[in-house]
């Protein structure tokens, strides 16, 4: 019986999509050891979507509430998760490797004195031991590790564990918890939100990225239109060359010094495919490249390539995608 705790993520009182992936990953681990999944949501009050988690395979959902937990607070969240883990015997605790999860999981690990396998892309149980696979050297190798301590802590790379519906009746409860005033010494004063509705490249199921081949910042309009044609599922990414040139914000940069993305579809437009760019997108499920240089390295990793002038190809492609979605 493998007992798995899935630590989920909410913002503004609504569960974030990555939470379904975490429950899905936790379910896989629990199933490998014919066990159970408990989901833990921290919030200022009830969190919308928490009652739907049975659909993805949670056996029980606990929402831990406190006025100071509405927004992520590193110390408050760490304390609540650690107390929960100490109170029960979990074999594994699973986090998202999101900005928040990357902050929270190591703290919990240090507090419990157990190792953390971060940014995991595959996991399972073999001979009673929990193992995890994670990319190292910018995705140029995979490291398979065995977690010897209990609980085993893992954070899951976003977009890798595609949510699977595994409906069951989940018991739900809400528990008031105690945290220090303001949640701790570090306080998130505000979240400056990006443009409303804009998807983050690290989490979008489709990413359309542009590079120096776009010639000037205004031409990114072509990619924004292509992204829109996918009907709200796509985000626009960028190579470092154009971020360094100030054409696009750093938040959009894909690659070793930017974000690591694993969307279902990655479209690289006017990007040569330097090793540091590949580091951020080579685990995408399907890669499409549009480049006028048939020898561009991006074609080596692209499942499908079109050689030609992006200024002719992209507008036509946008038109065709729009038709598909119409």
């Amino acid at each position: 019986m493998t007992a798995v705790l899935a630590v989920l993520e909410q913002r503004d009182g609504a569960l974030r999509k990555v939470s379904h992936e975490v429950v899905t990953g936790a379910r896989r681990l629990a199933d490998a050891g014919s066990g159970t999944v408990e989901a833990l949501v921290l919030g200022g009050g009830t969190v919308s979507g928490a009652d739907q988690l049975g659909r993805f395979g949670a056996d029980r959902v606990t929402t831990a509430t406190h006025a100071a937990l509405g927004r992520y607070t590193p110390e408050g969240y760490t304390r609540v998760v650690v107390e929960r883990v100490r109170a029960r015997q979990y074999d594994a605790v699973v986090f998202p490797a999101s900005a928040t999860g990357r902050d929270l999981a190591p703290r919990v690990a240090a507090r419990l004195g157990v190792p953390l396998a971060a940014d995991v892309t595959d996991l399972g149980i073999e001979g009673g031991a929990i193992w995890a696979t994670r990319p190292v050297y910018a995705g140029k190798a995979l490291l398979k590790v065995k977690l010897l301590a209990r609980p085993a802590l893992l954070s899951l790379r976003p977009n890798v564990f595609t949510p699977v519906e595994r409906p069951r009746a989940a018991a739900a409860e809400t528990a008031k918890v105690d945290v220090p005033e303001r949640g701790g010494r570090v306080v998130v004063r505000e979240i400056k939100a990006a443009a409303a509705g804009a998807l983050d490249v690290a989490e979008a199921p489709i990413v359309v990225s542009g590079g120096r081949g776009l010639k000037e910042p205004a031409n990114f309009r072509l990619l924004e239109e292509l992204a829109r044609a996918f009907g709200g599922k796509a985000a626009v990414g960028a190579s470092r060359a154009v971020v360094d040139a100030g054409w696009r914000p750093h938040a959009d940069q894909v690659g070793q010094t930017g974000k690591t993305v694993s969307p279902t579809l990655y479209v690289a437009v006017g990007i040569s495919g330097a090793i540091q760019h590949l580091a951020g997108m080579r685990t995408s499920k399907v890669i499409v490249a549009i480049n006028r240089d048939k020898d561009a390295p991006i074609f080596k990793v692209a499942d499908y390539g079109i050689v030609g002038d992006l200024f002719e190809i992209v507008p036509r492609l946008t038109e065709e995608i729009r038709k598909l979605h119409a």
């Binding site: 240090a110 065995k146 990793v301 079109i306």
Partner: protein, 250 residues
């Protein structure tokens, strides 16, 4: 301002990864090693803060093999005052073991700030900084791209999905640095010469056993051979057909 920076010696990002004979690690033959790029932001920030304060000390601490002395010298050449090498044969895969050794070294140092990179580009762990903070009981903000300090209070900005979190924290604190925080300086010739004479304390270090066992390092699954669908706009219909029928992503 007394500032410590944790720095790691890592394989350069251009490295062609060859797996060692034991099937569990990188074959280091011919690999170029550098100061982890995210740690350069941390070193730069430490130097600027000390310069602004007009006095203080910047110390770098690296846990690694004897060869990590070079990495420390690179930081000394940028302007860091002194270095400490926690010498081990091999850097463990378990970030907690690394954090425990670093925390033990930093514990009684009286630092106002402890800086780390947000992640090491070899292991992608994103964990040693916040672990050190927890072990030392210090407040910590990770992946910062902007920092303001006033007296004993700091305000840092970090990128989260779809926005920027503005975090307030008291000093002393641990911070981990992201790209965008600053532009690291290149060491001048004078700095490189001076670095040779700066103190570098080598401490042989015994590590805890840890709870992560490396089973195997393998090459990533081969992407099946890429295919050029065609040239120009004429190739669009075939591309869409493939995305729909073969890749099933549309």
């Amino acid at each position: 301002m007394k500032i410590a920076v944790c720095i790691k010696r890592v394989a350069d990002s251009e490295t062609r990864v060859k797996i060692a004979a034991d099937g569990k690690a990188l074959d280091e033959a011919g690999v170029k090693f550098v100061l982890n790029p995210y740690d350069e932001f941390a070193v730069e920030e430490a130097l600027r803060r000390k310069e602004q304060a007009g006095s203080g000390e910047v110390v770098v601490v690296a846990l690694g093999p004897a060869a990590a002395q070079e990495t420390i010298r690179a930081a000394l050449a940028m302007g860091v005052d002194r270095g400490v090498l926690l010498q081990v044969d091999r850097i463990p895969a378990d970030g907690l073991v690394v954090a425990q050794a670093l925390a033990a070294e930093l514990k009684d140092g009286g630092y106002d700030l402890i800086l780390c990179g947000k992640m090491a580009i070899d292991d992608y762990n994103h964990q040693v900084g916040p672990m050190v903070a927890e072990l030392l009981g210090l407040p910590c903000v990770t992946s910062i791209a902007h920092l303001e300090l006033q007296g004993n209070t700091g305000v840092a900005e970090r990128e989260v999905e779809g926005g920027i979190e503005v975090c307030e924290f008291p000093l002393p604190a641990v911070l981990t640095t992201d790209k965008g925080l600053n532009e690291p300086r290149y060491p001048a010739l004078k700095g490189i010469m001076a670095a040779k004479k700066k103190p570098l304390d080598i401490k042989p270090t015994a590590l805890a056993v840890g709870g992560l066992e490396v089973l195997a390092m393998t090459p990533p699954p081969d992407r099946k051979d890429g295919r050029i669908v065609g040239e120009g706009v004429a190739a669009i219909p075939e591309l869409l057909r493939l995305l729909r029928e073969e890749a099933k992503v549309l």
